[in-house]
Amino acid sequence: MTQAAVQAAAAPRIKPKVSRDDWIMRACMGVIALFLVVAVLLPLYTMLSKSLENRHGDFIGLTNYAEYFSTPALFLSAVNSLQISVIATVIVLVTAFLYAYALTRTCMPLKWLFKLIAAIPLLTPSLLSGISLVYWFGNQGVAKHLLLGESIYGPIGIVIGSAYWVFPHVLMIVITALSITDARLYEAALALRAGRWRTFFTVTLPGCKYGLISAGFVAFTLIFTDFGVPKVIGGNYNVLATDIYKQVIGQQNFQMGAVVSVVLLIPAVLAFAVDRIVQRKQVALLSARAVPYQPQPRTSRDWAAFAFCTVVAAVILLMIGMAQYAALIKFWPYNLTLTLGNYEFDLANGGGWDSYHNSIRMSLYTAVVGTVIIFFGAYLMEKGRGFRAGRNGFHAIAMLPLAVPGMVLGLSYIFFFNNPANPFNFLYGTMAILVIATVAHFYTVSHLTAVTALKQMDAEFESVSASLNTPFYRTFLRVTVPVCVPAILDISMYLFLNAMTTVSAVVFIYSTDTTLASVAVLNMDDQGEIPFAAAMAMMIAYTCAGARILHAILTRGIMRTTQAWRTR
């Protein structure tokens, strides 16, 4: 210890007095932390302990796991999951990198259109790509011959479908990684007479290395834990996510479902941990003085990029286009008359218009309640005074949901909330539990968005308002919220889109009164009513597209009215 440290240890320590504001802030943060504990931690814990019990609830140690790993049919799913995840990740990563490179580093025309098209998969449940593939390459598919006798039902279908719906998620990360490169590095490379390829391998790739790694892990986790695509197009090819569903819904074997969940959870948590470490490294690459890169036109490269993007965009459009076509024809492939009959969901089994309305309600509640909780929580954590341990702890809990696959979360909810002894049991089967599950499931990304926006604000706003004896909530409402409106809108949009399209978490916890559109797609498909499923999936897509347009208009309007003070 230094001399000063010794002195400080000897002198009486000053114990800072906690102000009324501090108490209120900590209490509010505690309440939100409690929400996360109840909505994520406790259910997960219940699930973990269930995996160590037999059907009667007796503790049996790792017996279930032993059974799992000695049952080849079950264990094979884990291998399958890994296999298709790795293949699809590689495909989507390469495609997304080239697409992002074309968007950020070339002067090809129509960039805005390519950006727009690339976002389309975000608007639909992952199931939709499966349905579309059935129409293209299924037993009666129009392009079946392209598979040269191979079946689309199985790994091929899962890989294509997964790559399709994960594409925009990966693309966003890679675009960001490519955008942060410093133009001065390229000028230096040029001055040193490095060739194009040398520059690419020594400047471009190292510059976005961490972004690519991060994108790879995100893609892997999304595909590994996805349920929708393998459910629709997987056929007899089992993966972990479908196994959980089969064990629980099909065989009512909850213990084995819990075991599979844990097997699914472990790689997801690992990928999450690695990704966090990698992302922390990436921040260090950013320098405030970096000069943004401006691509110069070069005909051959620009047109090659244009051709590539056209192909990718065409695939996306063919996917969504086929789903739309499937929703509009009478009886594939025998009667191709156009009809709106497939939208009469009340005639179908598996969920009528009610489920669509439920989805809208659920998504709106999630967007509103979730945004309030998540943004306020992030604010309390980021701008609170003192109480460092508590704030760090809160951040850790808020990061956790990202590592938990939706299937695992949903199954955990059955174990936790369906227990009559649980004081929260009354929530089971209600709309509220769907909202809670969805907010919890998508908490982390929204939390990080909020934190980023809050970090961009002057750190001294709180100091100034404290010096002016103004309570924190006044400054929060009058300064923080107005300044962060764009981020708040982004968060609510993100929550709304995900709530509309998610299947995995809610498939275990909806009740007959709270069926959802995305689940209806699943059930209709399950029962062979594929045109209805396609139509319902398209309803979700229209709604999400509408929400995005509304979001764009709102954001632009707010930016315009607040332009006077936002220019800086």
Binding site: Q3, A11, R13, K17, L468, R478, V479, T562, W565
Partner: protein, 362 residues
């Protein structure tokens, strides 16, 4: 001016220590600030000046030690229970509020009648010379104007203590010089006790009633600008403020110090003969004009280097006299011209005894 110490102590800081883990950002700092005076905390970055200011504000409360404001022990109080206004380098103006709204922000919380608030805002904006800018947003103002708004906002609630954290550092040089005078003038008119943190010595010298020079978490010296500049107590202060020549030497007798082959007369302040010292003198104190034969401390040197600095020349003096060390001296343009000085010229200079300072070496 309360700087002479006969005024009332407004802020009494005792034995302040601030630890960040094992690192001491402040070590046992004690200081009195008198009512109505303007004090500058001056030092290089990382010296603890901002930490000290934030401890006074309650933004980062010290590990140990006490702070008393106006007789009240505020050591452990959160900022909201202390009485101060603060201006940051970043201004921290609320971007979504007009200038007027920013200034009235602290007043609105006090449930004052609306016209009274309006009158006060008007008064404050006039005080900082922005009476016609009340309806603009901060982003529409220049940096200097924004800083004035921040000042008005901090003064709105008439705090007993005004804290300025590097308020001018983000501004252009010209604006900075201008605002310097304005802030000082404003402070004098309002009479509010003010503490300003800065790393800019010129700022501190021109604005402060007293300067607190800090280094590595401790106070090196407290004094008026003249004291700090003229009688730096440590070699750190001597080096940090202004320019200073440092030459190793040795005290050989009372009032006598030797550097190289030269003996100089100067106050030795009780340093015993045989002690190694650093001999310090400012370039502008070295005299080359009006040298009478009988005056002591004359040294014959040679000009090794001559640098034109606009209003004067800085000469690098060398020769056997300094034992291989070079000493800078500032010569007026007039002198250089009159004596026709150039590189290689021999010149006799005088080291006035009263301007030589010795710092013990160990």
């Amino acid at each position: 001016m309360a700087a002479d110490g006969d005024g009332k102590v407004y802020l009494r800081i005792r034995n302040l220590t601030k630890m960040f883990g094992d690192f001491a950002a402040l070590r046992d700092v004690s200081l009195d600030v008198y009512d109505g005076e303007f004090v500058c905390f001056l030092g290089p970055s990382g010296c603890g000046k901002t930490t000290l200011l934030r401890a006074i504000a309650g933004l980062d409360i010290q590990t140990s030690g006490t702070v008393e404001q106006d007789g009240r022990d505020i050591s452990a109080l959160p900022p909201s229970e202390r009485d101060f206004g603060i201006v940051f380098q970043s201004y921290a103006l609320f971007p979504n509020m007009t200038v007027g709204k920013n200034v009235s922000y602290g007043l609105e919380n006090r449930k004052l009648p609306r016209d009274q608030i309006r009158a006060r805002v008007k008064e404050l904006l006039e005080l900082v010379g922005l009476h016609d800018q009340g309806d603009k947003y901060p982003a529409q103002l220049s940096g200097g104007q924004q800083q004035r708004v921040a000042l008005a906002r901090a003064m709105a609630t008439s705090p007993g203590l005004l804290l300025l954290d590097e308020p001018l550092s983000a501004l252009d040089a010209k604006v900075r010089v201008h605002l310097r005078g304005e802030i000082k003038d404003l402070q004098r008119r309002v009479g509010v006790t003010t503490i300003m943190v800065t790393h800019d010595q010129e700022e501190a010298l021109t604005m402060a009633d007293r300067i607190v020079v800090m280094d590595q978490g401790s106070i090196e010296q407290v004094g008026t600008p003249q004291e700090i500049y003229g009688e730096p107590r440590t070699s750190f202060v001597a080096d940090f403020i202004g320019t200073m020549n440092f030459v190793p030497g040795e005290v050989i007798a009372d009032h006598t110090v030797q550097i190289g082959g030269t003996t100089l007369t100067c106050p030795t302040d009780g340093i015993t003969p045989g002690h190694a010292v650093t001999v310090a003198i400012r370039p502008e104190d070295i005299n080359a004009q009006d040298i009478d034969g009988d005056d002591g401390n004359l040294v014959e040197t040679e000009i090794r280097h001559l640098e034109f600095l606009g209003s004067f020349y800085r000469a690098e003096l060398g020769g056997p006299a300094f034992g291989g060390h070079d000493i800078n001296a500032d010569f007026s343009i007039n002198l250089v011209r009159r004596k026709n000085l150039d590189v290689g010229s021999a010149i006799t200079v005088r080291f006035p005894a009263e301007f030589i300072r010795l710092y013990p070496r160990d």
